[in-house]
Each structure stands twice: as structure tokens, then as C-alpha cells.
């Protein structure tokens, strides 16, 4: 370090401000706590989303299994139902009282039951996490 360097060093030392403001540590702690809370929240959201996806997959699998084992519905039939049966000129009644009504009723009940179970379990899990 030459003479010029020493002079510059002295000048820079005069500029240095190493004072720590009041509450500096407390503010850092607060920021850390906020980040931890945010992380927890996003983790919880991720868990809920993955849980919902898993439940959706299970519901789809159950529906597929029920259809395969008991009902044997064809996609063509469903297309027929959607395109031809849904018009509001008196065919709605026949839609609910035809030979397939019971099948759809069972499928609907299953879906409701599974959604209810999913809500119940996810609420229980989130309560456990909070505790």
C-alpha cells in the first residue's frame, strides 16, 4: 500500500458510517418470522392442492371402475344424451325418468360422498397442522 493508498484509506474511513439503527435486529427478526409464516402458508396451500388432485384422481378412478363393473356406459351414449336430450322443450322430464336415471343418481351420490369426505379429511389435517 503506497502513500496515496494510505491517504485514500484515511479519507474512506472518514466516510464510513457503521452506526446500527435502533431496532435493527428486531426488524430482521420480524422479517424472518413473516417469511416463515408465508412459507408455512404456501406449504399448506400446496398440500391442499395436492390432496385435492389425489382425491380427484381417486374419484375419477372410482367412477371409471363403477362404470366398467356395473353400468357399462359408452361415451357415444353420453354424447347422445348431451346433444339430443338437453333441450328445453319437454324432454327434460324424460331425461330424469328414463332407464339411466338410477345410474346417474348413484354416480351423483358417490361424487357428493367423496367430496364430503375430502372436505372432512382436509379440514382435519389443516387443524392438526395448526395445532
Amino acid at each position: 500500500m503506497d502513500e496515496n493508498d494510505k491517504n485514500l484509506k484515511e479519507l474512506f474511513a472518514g466516510l464510513a458510517d457503521e452506526s446500527v439503527p435502533f431496532n435493527f435486529e428486531v426488524k430482521i427478526q420480524k422479517k424472518i418470522e413473516e417469511r416463515i409464516a408465508k412459507k408455512k402458508e404456501s406449504n399448506e396451500l400446496f398440500h391442499q392442492i395436492s390432496f385435492a388432485v389425489i382425491i380427484a384422481v381417486i374419484i375419477s378412478a372410482v367412477l371409471y371402475f363403477l362404470n366398467y363393473k356395473y353400468f357399462g356406459l359408452q361415451i357415444n351414449n353420453l354424447k347422445f344424451l348431451l346433444t339430443d336430450s338437453i333441450n328445453f322443450t319437454g324432454k327434460i322430464k324424460s331425461m330424469f325418468s328414463n332407464s339411466l336415471s338410477l345410474t346417474w343418481l348413484i354416480i351423483g351420490l358417490n361424487v357428493v360422498l367423496l367430496i364430503f369426505a375430502e372436505r372432512l379429511i382436509s379440514e382435519k389435517l389443516s387443524r392438526k397442522e395448526k395445532e
Binding site: E3, N4, D5, N7, L8, K9, L11, F12, A13, G14, L15, A16, D17, E18, S19, V20, P21, F24, E25, K27, I28, Q29, K31, I32, R35
Partner: protein, 187 residues
């Protein structure tokens, strides 16, 4: 705090004793604040950045392997954060306040020296304001915090020769612009 003691402390923090992190804040906050203030001249912004440096350090302390000093590691975070802060917010140069007080009962010669020093601070502030944020960090780390060229290279991710060249250019510019004023003060 000695390096060995610091490494033991960091190991404890890594193991889960996160409340010990306060000791690291206490030890390193003056230096980190000082270097960030040199780059981000707005005081509030600088304090915000310095706080974020410690928050970032807290969450990534497990990635600290101890192959450099903890101070160097913190300086690296401070470098990245303060330089990107100045990129985000175009720097309005507010002079860094000097720490000296005017000598009142001293001799005329001393008072003259003080005024020369005042002028030098002004020039230095002006030059620093014209430098790139990364260059400001470089020169402040070198002179204020006595970081070696090797350490500065580690902090900034530049090669040692690149740091040397940059420092040489900045010093040359500083000496050129402050040359006459230096002579007045230091004879």
C-alpha cells in the same frame, strides 16, 4: 469473534439453534450496513437492503460451507442485493455523511486542514456517485473494510486480475481528481 468460534456458532445454528443467529447479526451488522450504505446511498433503502441481507443469510445458512469467512459470505449476499437494488432504483446520489466534527478551539492550520478535508469528502462523494454500483462496492470493500483482492474476487465473482484492473482504474481516477487536494492536506 474468532473464526473458529464463529464456525462453531454457525454449526450450532445449522443444527437448529436458530436463536443464536442474533449473535451473528450483532457482530456483522455494522460492517454490512456500512458497505450497503456506500452503494445504496438512500439511508432507508440501505437499511432495508441490509436487513434483507441477514434474512437471506438466515434462510440459506445451510449452504455456507465454511470455505471462506462468514464475513466474505455475507458481503457476497450484500454485494448481489445492493447492486440489484441500485439497478431497480436508479440511484439518486445523496452524499454519505462524514463522521468527523469541526474542530472549534484548534489552531488556524488545523482548521484549514479540516476545510481541505471537507472539500476532499465532497469530491470523493461526487466521484463515488459517478461510479457504477459494483465499482463503488469494490472500492469501499477495499479501503473501508480492508478486504483483500482475493476476497473481493470471491465476493463479486470476478477474477482476481479483473478486480486488480478495476481497482487500479478507480484509484487512478480518484488520485487524478483528488491529486491537488491530497497534497494540500498531506503535504
Amino acid at each position: 469473534m474468532k473464526r473458529e468460534e464463529e464456525l462453531i456458532l454457525i454449526e450450532k445454528i445449522k443444527a437448529g439453534e436458530l436463536n443464536l443467529f442474533n449473535t451473528l447479526i450483532e457482530t456483522h451488522s455494522p460492517k454490512i450496513l456500512s458497505v450497503v450504505r456506500g452503494v445504496v446511498s438512500n439511508r432507508e433503502d440501505a437499511e432495508e437492503v441490509a436487513q434483507d441481507v441477514f434474512v437471506k443469510a438466515y434462510f440459506s445458512i445451510k449452504s455456507f460451507r465454511g470455505d471462506c469467512s462468514f464475513s466474505t459470505w455475507l458481503f457476497r449476499i450484500a454485494y448481489n442485493m445492493s447492486v440489484s437494488k441500485t439497478r431497480l432504483k436508479k440511484r439518486e446520489h445523496i452524499p454519505i455523511e462524514k463522521t468527523g466534527n469541526i474542530p472549534d478551539n484548534n489552531s488556524l492550520k488545523e482548521q484549514e486542514n479540516y476545510l481541505d478535508r471537507e472539500r476532499q469528502y465532497k469530491i470523493l462523494n461526487k466521484i463515488l456517485g459517478e461510479l457504477e454500483a459494483s465499482d463503488r462496492f469494490l472500492i469501499i470493500s477495499f479501503y473501508n473494510h480492508e478486504k483483500s483482492i482475493k476476497e473481493i474476487a470471491e465476493i463479486t465473482g470476478m477474477s482476481e486480475s479483473n478486480v486488480k484492473v478495476k481497482l487500479h482504474r478507480i484509484k487512478k481516477r480518484l488520485n487524478l481528481l483528488m491529486g491537488d487536494n491530497m497534497e494540500v492536506c498531506y503535504g
